[in-house]
């Protein structure tokens, strides 16, 4: 809807980080190599209310469908435990959970 031109780089809204911790994220194809203890996250599509917090915080891991307003995990769904906990904390629908252990999640050796 509302065809307007896209402009410039995406606004990151990165200041909304609840945690001040430093992370290094490297994108390797679809897989994100992250520092710290990697975990896998999932979205419960029944609970998702399309609030967009996950995509705002972790655009490489979550994709909010602009038609259905339902979020899903893209790629491996792997990120550091600390970052995953922030997304879980900020999800308004309590729709995101951490899958433990992160089977096959250890990407950074």
């Amino acid at each position: 809807m509302g065809g307007r031109l896209d402009r410039g780089p995406a606004r990151s809204w990165g200041c909304l980080w609840a945690s001040g911790a430093q992370f290094s994220t490297e994108i390797l194809g679809e897989r994100a190599a992250v520092s710290g203890d990697p975990v896998r996250v999932t979205v419960d599509s029944e609970r998702c209310i399309g609030g967009g917090q996950c995509e705002m915080l972790e655009p490489e891991v979550f994709l909010l469908d602009d038609e259905t307003a339902i979020s899903s995990v893209i790629g491996s769904g792997v990120l550091s435990r600390e970052r995953a906990e922030v997304v879980v904390h900020r999800c308004p629908g309590a729709a995101i959970s951490i899958v433990e252990p992160a089977d096959g999640a250890r990407l950074d050796g």
Binding site: M1, G2, G3, R4, L5, D6, R7, G8, A10, R11, S12, W13, G14, C15, L16, W17, A18, S19, G20, E46, R47, I49, G50, G51, G52, Q53, E55, M56, L64, D65, D66, E67, T68, A69, I70, R90, P92, G93, A94
Partner: protein, 420 residues
């Protein structure tokens, strides 16, 4: 929990009297309530409420919607009779699964990616308003900038003629009166014949807004366009994914909440920048602070002061026993100044990090639908003010609304500052 052995609750100082808010949020009283053990009880008419004032407790209420319901009683301080609650029910007054279904009807338009598509349109409106403000040498900031910017944007998204912005702002102003004791309209204003208790905000302006929405609905049914009204009309026609009632209330909510709240943020934001020129200088010196300055303005403004929930079951919060049916009021205005969460909460700090404010709700499923739109509007405004190196000087006391629900500013004179 045996009521006969429970200790009597601590009584909160008065924070519900709308007249208190003519002088601003009674922060000192909220600070006293935050320091009280457990939850404080606040008398209110024939049925008081639990005053939830600490950040962590507001979050606990907001994120437990099965216990703290939006669909029972009312989401404002006073209870509604069952028929009035049904007649007035909007997205705000629903729980899952109705809430999830209704929200998804419109949430797609407000995702970060889709909101970003409106950036050029927001900028064009902002530039026009700021240039006019500068050309006039200032004036009433609310009338010249804070009110027209958000209403023009939400009307563009809805597909409503922007020429009607003035009329719809006027209706919004009347609706806000319904949250105070200052209703200025006669019951039959705008040709209204509905009992006021059945209308949102008890206001005949709700009748006028419903009528306006119905007219838009007819137009888009006859001639669909690429806009939000057409999207809702199609959802109603397509197997009744939303009802006629739901269409009317979604339209009402989008017009009202889409303009009144961001107007408040932009009004308080200007006052904060005028009062803290050192903070604005920081933004000018470090452009990357626009993002955190936007969040700080929204925290500072807290356009919606509270929302109420009603306990669906007996429960306990902060060590206080709550009975099923009790009113539980989340005071966002207090949580956003909670000294347990914010270092120096009464300082306006454009570089504040980890600003998990509750100006868009307390972290639960009723998160403000327009949060990304509000952020876009405020940040584009700051960018365009920064591009003009535009300082503000406040030339009059703000005229505030007598409301315990919205942190409204009716007018405030501003002029381009000496550094502009």
């Amino acid at each position: 929990m045996n009521p006969s052995t429970a200790p009597p609750p601590t009584l909160a100082p008065e924070v519900a009297d709308p007249r208190l808010y003519l002088d601003g949020i009674p922060h000192e009283r909220f600070a006293r309530i935050r320091a009280m053990p457990g939850l404080a009880w606040h008398p209110y008419g024939d049925k008081g409420f639990w005053a939830v004032t600490r950040h962590a407790d507001v979050r606990a209420v907001s994120r437990n919607p099965t216990v703290f319901s939006s669909a029972i009683g009312h989401t404002n301080l006073w209870d509604l009779e069952a028929d009035a609650l049904e007649a007035r029910r909007s997205l705000i007054d629903t729980d899952a699964p109705d809430h999830t279904r209704l929200r998804r009807m419109v949430a797609g338009a407000f995702t970060p990616k889709n909101i970003r598509r409106w950036e050029d349109a927001v900028r064009e409106i902002t530039v026009e308003l700021l240039d006019e403000f500068l050309a006039q040498g200032g004036g009433d900031w609310v009338e010249m900038v804070a009110a027209p910017l958000p209403i023009r944007v939400i009307l563009s998204m809805l597909g409503v003629p922007v020429a009607d912005a003035g009329y719809l702002v006027e209706l919004s102003n009347y609706l806000v009166e319904g949250t105070s004791d200052a209703q200025s309209l006669p019951p039959d204003a705008f040709g209204n014949t509905t009992e006021l208790r059945l209308l949102p905000f008890n206001s005949p302006a709700s009748h006028a807004l419903f009528e306006y929405g119905d007219e838009m609905r007819s137009k888009r049914r006859a001639e669909p366009r690429d806009d939000l009204v057409t999207h809702l009309v199609e959802a109603e026609a397509d197997g009744g994914r939303i009802s006629r009632h739901e269409f009317r209330h979604l339209f009402h909510l989008l017009v009202f909440a889409g303009n009144e709240t961001t107007r408040t943020a932009i009004s308080h934001g200007a006052m904060a920048l005028a009062a803290n020129p050192d903070q604005w200088q920081r933004v000018l010196d470090e452009g990357e602070l626009i993002e955190s300055a936007t969040e700080e303005i929204i925290r500072w403004a807290t356009p919606v002061l509270h929302m109420r929930r009603t306990a669906a079951a007996d429960c306990e919060l902060a060590g206080t026993a709550i009975a099923a049916g009790d009113k539980v009021v989340m005071w966002y205005a207090s949580a956003n100044r909670d000294e347990a969460v914010y270092a120096d909460p009464f300082r306006f700090d454009v570089g504040r990090a980890g600003n998990e404010h509750f100006a868009f709700g307390g972290g639960g499923p009723h998160l403000c639908l327009g949060a990304f739109l509000a952020r876009l509007e405020v940040s584009v405004l700051l960018e365009e003010m920064a591009a003009r190196r535009m300082f503000l000087e406040q030339r009059s006391q703000a005229v505030r609304m007598a409301s315990n629900f919205v942190h409204g500013v009716l007018s405030v004179e501003m002029a381009p500052g000496a550094n502009s």
